[in-house]
């Protein structure tokens, strides 16, 4: 009996001993915040005609990535081994030695006005290719788009988030003095290149908004003397006035996520409320009915909710309500006035303009109003718009004084990497379109 007892005790004690051979468990809580390093050796020119474009393409890819602030390029003079052929095996140790975390190799072939671009992405520390090789075909004239697409693929594979380089932005191009400002609608690449004008400067245009697919644009115009909403087709620049509910002024339009309807503000009898109109049928629905001013509606990505600004509490604040109207709950409680809310494509944040103590800010908060963060501060920052992946916010910044002009800026939602967008001339009211197909 005693033996059984000792055996029993031994078994009990042996249990935890076995557990000792389990894995070592540690918790990592403090990381670092630093750009991911990449190397992008000049792509291989597969024929003589490609020699000219190959370097430009390579620089554009590196510029796109480094411009995000999330990546840092390792200069070519640090390379230990060279990439002379797209097909050659990669000496991972050489790239590891210069602390490159990613390696981009590519090859370009040009025939006439057609070109093809191939590229591969390597994860240096795991010694593996990240994703498969990718080949793009297009025209030589559209080489920038192909470069953006390569950068998007690299960005997406490394960060796990969608890219935003091959996208366009519609904005109001301004010229002339403040008291006689000429305004035209214009579209550009996200980096300010390839600007095209969509309207002439005969009338005031405001607040253009891209459709979810990027094929149409809504904007506010004063052609009739009162603000009305126009719908513009990007491909043929044809435009028509939106059929809205009856009222004196219609403004601040936005597409629904499916592009089939429009939510906007309508002012009638001194009261401004939010409406929705179906583009196909023209049927409209009134979503708010408070005696106060409700405007600047923006839909959530799933289309179920609307964030908007209202002065029902006495000052401009942000509210969220169902997409079908009804009760609204206030989400902004800080000091100052909040306006122009825009729901993030990710769905987790709302960007806004905040005016407080004589300064303007672009900020973000979670959709429940928590974790408000102001990203910028200046004399006049306003009109935030989200990049397609919800990572970057573009906005317009106006300088003070008679000669003050407006320019476009972008900033990462981490509050880093504030950059001026290289647009020719003054610009305001940006609206970021989707990634192009």
């Amino acid at each position: 009996m005693k033996k059984f007892l000792t055996l029993f005790i031994a078994l009990i004690l042996a249990g935890p001993v076995a557990a000792q051979n389990g894995p070592l468990r540690l918790t990592i809580t403090d990381g670092v915040i630093e750009p991911i390093t990449f190397a992008a050796p000049v792509f291989e020119a597969e024929n003589a005609e490609a020699v000219q474009v190959v370097n430009n393409l390579n620089r554009l890819v590196a510029q796109d990535l480094a411009g995000t602030g999330l990546f840092r390029e390792i200069p070519a003079n640090a390379y230990i081994s060279q990439i002379s052929s797209f097909a050659q095996p990669i000496a991972f140790a050489d790239w590891r030695a210069i602390n490159a975390q990613a390696l981009i190799t590519g090859a370009v072939a040009v025939s006439g006005n057609q070109m093809t671009v191939k590229f591969r992405l390597y994860d240096i520390y795991s010694g593996q290719e990240l994703g498969g090789g990718l080949q793009l075909a297009g025209t030589t004239a559209g080489w920038r788009r192909m470069g953006h697409k390569v950068a998007d693929a690299v960005y997406s594979r490394i960060t796990g988030e969608g890219g935003y380089f091959d996208s366009r932005v519609v904005f109001v191009a301004e010229s002339g003095p403040k008291d006689n400002r000429q305004m035209r609608l214009a579209v550009m690449d996200f980096d300010g290149e390839n600007t095209q004008y969509l309207t002439d400067s005969s009338t005031i245009v405001l607040a253009p908004r891209f459709s979810p697919s990027g094929d149409r644009i809504l904007y506010t115009t004063y052609e009739s003397g009162f603000p009305r909403i126009n719908l513009l087709n990007v491909s043929n620049v044809g435009r028509q006035q939106l059929q809205t509910a009856p009222g004196e002024m219609a403004f601040s339009p936005r597409f629904s996520r499916d592009g089939g309807s429009v939510i906007y503000s309508l002012s009638t009898g001194g009261n401004t409320d939010i409406y929705r109109s179906d583009l196909a049928t023209g049927q409209f629905t009134r979503l708010t009915s408070a005696p106060s001013i409700e405007t600047a509606p923006s839909l959530s990505p799933d289309g179920s909710q609307i964030v908007f600004e209202s002065d029902r509490s006495g000052t401009q604040q942000l509210y969220i309500m169902s997409a079908n109207g009804g009760d609204a709950r206030r989400i902004s409680f800080g000091e100052g006035r909040y306006s122009t809310p825009v729901w993030s494509p990710r769905g987790d944040l709302v960007a806004f303009t905040k005016q407080n103590a004589g300064r303007f800010h672009i900020g973000v908060m979670r959709t429940d109003g928590s974790e408000e963060r102001l990203l910028t501060a200046s004399f006049l920052d306003e009109g935030p718009t989200w990049s397609p992946n919800g990572r970057v916010i573009m906005f317009s910044r106006e300088t003070q004084g008679e000669a003050g002009t407006s320019a476009l800026y972008s900033i990462d939602i981490s509050g880093r990497n504030l950059k001026a967008v290289a647009v020719a001339g003054a610009a305001s009211d940006p609206s970021w379109g989707p990634l192009q197909p």
Binding site: A10, L13, A14, P16, V17, A19, Q20, N21, G22, P23, L24, R25, L26, T27, I28, T29, D30, G31, V32, I33, E34, I36, L70, R96, Q101, D123, Y125, S126, T159, G160, E161, F333, G334, R346, D348, M365, R366, D368, G369, S370, E371, E372, R373, R391, D412, I413, S414, G415
Partner: protein
């Protein structure tokens, strides 16, 4: 070329030289007069000094150990004795001096040097120094020697008050139940068991708590914006709680990780083949080496996801194969991003192998890291 200036200069120099001469002379005279005054004063005070001198030795005699006091008193005696009356002072001084040496110095010295013949030789030995001492100088050197030779260290051992106490302790040790405890663990290596228990408990608790505060102080401030949430407003009064929760969780995780080896070690250590458990410093060193490669993008959705990543290490501390995702919380795409960042951190910082104690390989060959970015999230 004698100008008024030269006259003035000459007279000035003469005055200066004269002042120097006479000045030195005048200074010398008053010094002598002062010395005379002193002698006059001493004449009146002699009687009182003599009267006071007898009580001084009387006081010194009973207090034998007070050697320094005696040394101080003799110096004033010689000057007084030499000018006035050599006869009377010696007599008075002799008696106390003779009385002084026997009780204080000789007793310990003789007993230590010659135990058996104390009586006859010792007493004559003692007197000879005493007459020499009687006059003036001798007492001082002998007393100085005594002070130097008896640093008070030897006497205490002789007295051995401490030893007696210790002797009492010894029987206690024999009678205590320690023997019983040894009997309970007869087969097992007892020493390893007790040592392991101590090492496990102390380092884990101490190191974790000492390292945490470094990073924590930065977190209590961020929670301030959080209270804006309606759901968290209830928790606003406890704004510092979130970090403390984190700290508690981290501490718990660490404690749990430690307890598994610690518990069996205290109970029974015989089956331990993995060597001593990893110390808190070793674990922190491992953790820090991954920390610096864990690149957190605070703007990414992955900054809201905690992932657990497991991997194996070879004996050189290098990762075998690829790290794998064990568990996670949150959106799948965000989890993938978070896992990629964790995987990159583990692979990136292993260059040359992680610095881990080779003799404890069994304990770190399997590793599970929890990557918790909650402290790095944008606020």
């Amino acid at each position: 070329m004698q100008t008024p200036g030269t006259y003035i200069s000459a007279t000035g120099h003469i005055l200066l030289i004269g002042w120097l001469f006479f000045g030195w002379g005048f200074d010398a005279d008053p010094l002598e007069f002062d010395a005379m005054d002193v002698s006059v004063i001493s004449g009146e005070a002699f009687e009182e000094m003599l009267a006071a001198r007898t009580p001084v030795p009387g006081d010194a005699s009973p207090t034998a150990p007070m050697l320094p006091e005696i040394v101080d008193t003799p110096p004033p005696l010689p000057p007084v004795a030499s000018p006035v009356a050599p006869a009377l002072p010696p007599e008075t001084v002799d008696q106390p001096d003779v009385e002084l040496p026997p009780p204080a110095a000789p007793a310990p010295l003789v007993t230590e040097a010659e135990p058996t013949p104390p009586e006859a030789p010792d007493t004559p030995d003692a007197p000879p120094p005493s007459p020499n001492v009687d006059i003036n100088a001798p007492p001082a050197p002998t007393q100085a020697d005594r002070v130097a030779s008896t640093p008070t260290a030897p006497p205490p051992p002789d007295a051995q008050v401490d030893d007696i106490v210790r002797e009492e302790v010894v029987p206690d040790a024999t009678t205590t139940a320690e023997v019983v405890t040894e009997e309970t663990t007869p087969t097992a290596p007892e020493e390893t068991a007790t040592e392991i228990a101590i090492e496990n408990v102390k380092p884990s608790g101490l190191v974790d708590t000492s390292l945490r505060p470094v990073s924590r102080p930065s977190r209590p401030t961020p929670p301030a914006p959080e209270p804006a949430t309606p759901t968290q407003t209830a928790e606003t009064p406890a704004a510092p709680e979130p970090p403390s929760d984190d700290a508690v969780e981290a501490a718990l995780a660490a404690a749990l990780a430690v307890e598994t080896p610690a518990a069996p070690a205290t109970a029974a250590a015989p089956a331990v083949a993995a060597g001593p458990p990893m110390t808190g410093a070793e674990r922190d060193s491992f953790r820090l080496s991954v920390n610096r490669c864990w690149n957190v993008d605070p703007g990414s959705v992955a900054s809201r996801v905690t992932v657990e990543v497991a991997f194996e290490l070879d004996r050189n501390g290098q990762v075998i194969g690829q790290p794998r995702l064990v568990s996670s919380d949150g959106d799948q795409s965000a989890v993938n991003i978070a896992f990629e960042a964790a995987r990159r951190a583990i692979l990136r910082c292993q260059s040359g192998g992680y610095p881990l104690p080779a003799d404890k390989y069994e304990q770190w060959k399997d590793v599970v890291f929890t990557f918790d970015p909650s402290g790095m999230r944008l606020r």
